[in-house]
Symmetry: C2
Subunit: 372 residues, 2 copies
């Protein structure tokens, strides 16, 4: 873990760069808004901690009304439980003896659940739960996106029967997250994709019901489709993560009125320093591929939509200014809006929370790199 | 920093995943080969530590004959000096008071140098060097790639004069690294690009010489062009980094005979576990965008060139097998070859060194995330 790039009370211009800046007013507005929407829809909010990887932020989400958090990896769940979060759901298949035992061990300290899509996973979970003397919640994942899961329908009943039959396990419902649908920019197309997801979840729920299985949780939905699942009457748990920060990719989503998803605010920026001015229209800053992820497209410059990102390498980015007069002087600080928030956050060790131009808080990203 | 995913002596199949695996036989062959080539060319080797970010590996490079290491950031240099490396060159402009002072502070514990492309940087370095009572080596960077630097020629003399005139600084030569040229796949095109770089470095060296400045170091060259600069008679320092590990992008380079650069070996892999088998021809593994960087193209599967990577998300990757019979069983371990080694390494906290199927060493990646 690197030393923090800032000190509490420092003006933001004095923060060392690159640094991961969170504008706290925008962050808190996003935090409260999702909590309010979940309440309005009458569903639980279990935000995804894979986005922030930070127990301090998970606690803020719980305080705002979340029932617990999702994690994607056991090591993330360990960081959350170590950080005092009492209800952690690993929304992913956990495979491998060492991993499954680590998950079961957490069951001694918190309410732990996970999901499955194969009988072997259920066997392994039961064995580990017995070894550690705990009960693990288990959901069946159905295939509604491009990743894991059994086909919607009767396959889920077979797994639910197995979960119910084995000691140390408690059947808890369904995992039905359509990752691809989150990033469909046009509302009508996103609606079609998420509606299919809802239909699959509903039919599987009904099939399970007919077989005598009640679903405590039917969970899924990300920051692109939460309204659709939230109002579906089928889902009772939203698993949104990116809403706290937003990024360029989520900012491309249009709502039902055709407008960009403007009710959410960008709260996350990478602060960088202009370290070279090789040409009048070009500034080179000290944040490259190791500070800003480009897997979902290039970053943008906050406050100047006409500055174009030019790949610089691991530790540089170039910015080409439409008007050279806009190009900042050597030593200036600039703010970069990431294309994709989660992998960007996963490269940094600290969130630098700022308000009114001053550093107010430093949150250690304790589960950064927690991928096992 | 996360806990290591492996234990010394463990069979590699028992390593927790995702894990960054280094095949030590291949790694050591690469390590020795570059040292041998530098000796053969009669130039210094100052490998780039931005690739591995690991003092333990830097020491192996020094033991094999390197004169010290390059770093790209001050925080990387701090990790190297803290780890006992005695000669560290930051091959990048250092801008910002806090950063420059941190660099100067290192001068009390090691031989420290850096490069500049603007008078303001030189002033700031001199001020900090005086404050900390040290002498910093300073090179002038010339613009031979797509990043920083003054134009080749007389502009370098102006900066050299300023360096020579200010206390606390020692003029040390030229930085002339053409990053773009490293990734030009055809040999003739790479030769043209690197030859232009050599020409620019030569003319600048001669201009400096005429003005009374000798260059202690003329440095540059990466793992794509090292032979061209190494044999140029102009450069006397190679700054290669990726050669230790190689990656898919470097593996596309062709040599003068038209063959792929086969004398280097892939030594770096991301070990992953198959966690879901949703369809006969598709396997989902537990390594996604937070374990393998895709900025230079998708990863590949070691040992199966016909398996196609399918984007899965932050924590998953899908693999589509041309022949379903090749698709591995649930729980199997697979080895992924990264598209780009540096940003992939920068996501992990540990190198797991293996030999003969057993874990032999665990190297902490102490400068991981060191971007300031």
């Amino acid at each position: 873990m690197q030393r923090p790039p800032a000190e509490i009370g420092q003006p933001v211009e004095d923060v060392d760069t690159p640094a991961l800046i969170v504008e706290l007013d925008a962050f808190e507005a996003n935090l409260q808004r999702m909590a309010r929407l979940a309440k309005e829809y009458g569903v639980h909010l279990r935000p995804h901690a894979k986005t922030h990887k930070t127990p301090a932020i998970a606690h803020l989400q719980v305080k705002a009304g979340a029932i617990g958090v999702c994690c994607q990896k056991v090591s993330e769940a360990e960081a959350m439980v170590e950080g005092g979060i009492g209800d952690v759901y690993v929304s992913n298949e956990v495979v491998g003896r060492r991993k499954v035992e680590r998950l079961a061990a957490l069951g001694r300290r918190a309410r732990i659940s996970t999901c499955v899509d194969h009988p072997d996973q259920i066997e392994a979970l039961s064995e580990a739960a017995r070894k550690f003397g705990v009960t693990l919640g288990v959901r069946v994942e159905i295939r509604v996106g491009n990743r894991c899961g059994v086909p919607p329908g009767s396959a889920a009943v077979e797994l639910a029967n197995q979960i119910a039959a084995l000691p140390g396990l408690r059947f808890e419902g369904l995992q039905a997250y359509n990752g691809k649908a989150q990033h469909v920019y046009l509302h009508i197309e996103r609606l079609v994709a998420a509606t299919q997801t809802v239909t699959d979840a509903r039919s599987t729920r009904d099939t399970l019901k007919a077989a005598g299985f009640d679903c405590l949780y039917i969970g899924g939905a990300g920051s692109g489709t939460y309204e659709i699942e939230g109002k579906s009457g089928v889902y009772n748990e939203l698993q949104t993560g990116s809403y706290l920060f937003m990024d360029l990719d989520y900012a491309k989503l249009r709502n039902a009125a055709g407008a960009l998803l403007g009710d959410w605010q960008h709260s996350l920026f990478v602060l960088a320093t202009v370290m070279s001015r090789p040409e009048p229209a070009r500034a080179i800053c000290d944040a490259g591929l190791k500070s800003v992820s480009i897997d979902s497209g290039p970053p943008a410059l906050a406050g100047n939509a006409r500055a174009e990102w030019v790949r610089g390498g691991d530790d540089h980015s170039g910015w080409l200014y439409a008007d050279p007069e806009d190009a900042p002087a050597l030593g200036s600080k600039i703010r970069i809006v990431p294309g994709h928030c989660d992998p960007t956050i996963n490269m940094h060790d600290w969130f630098v929370g700022v308000r009114g131009g001053k550093v107010e808080t430093l949150w250690p990203i304790l589960a950064r790199g927690a991928v096992t």
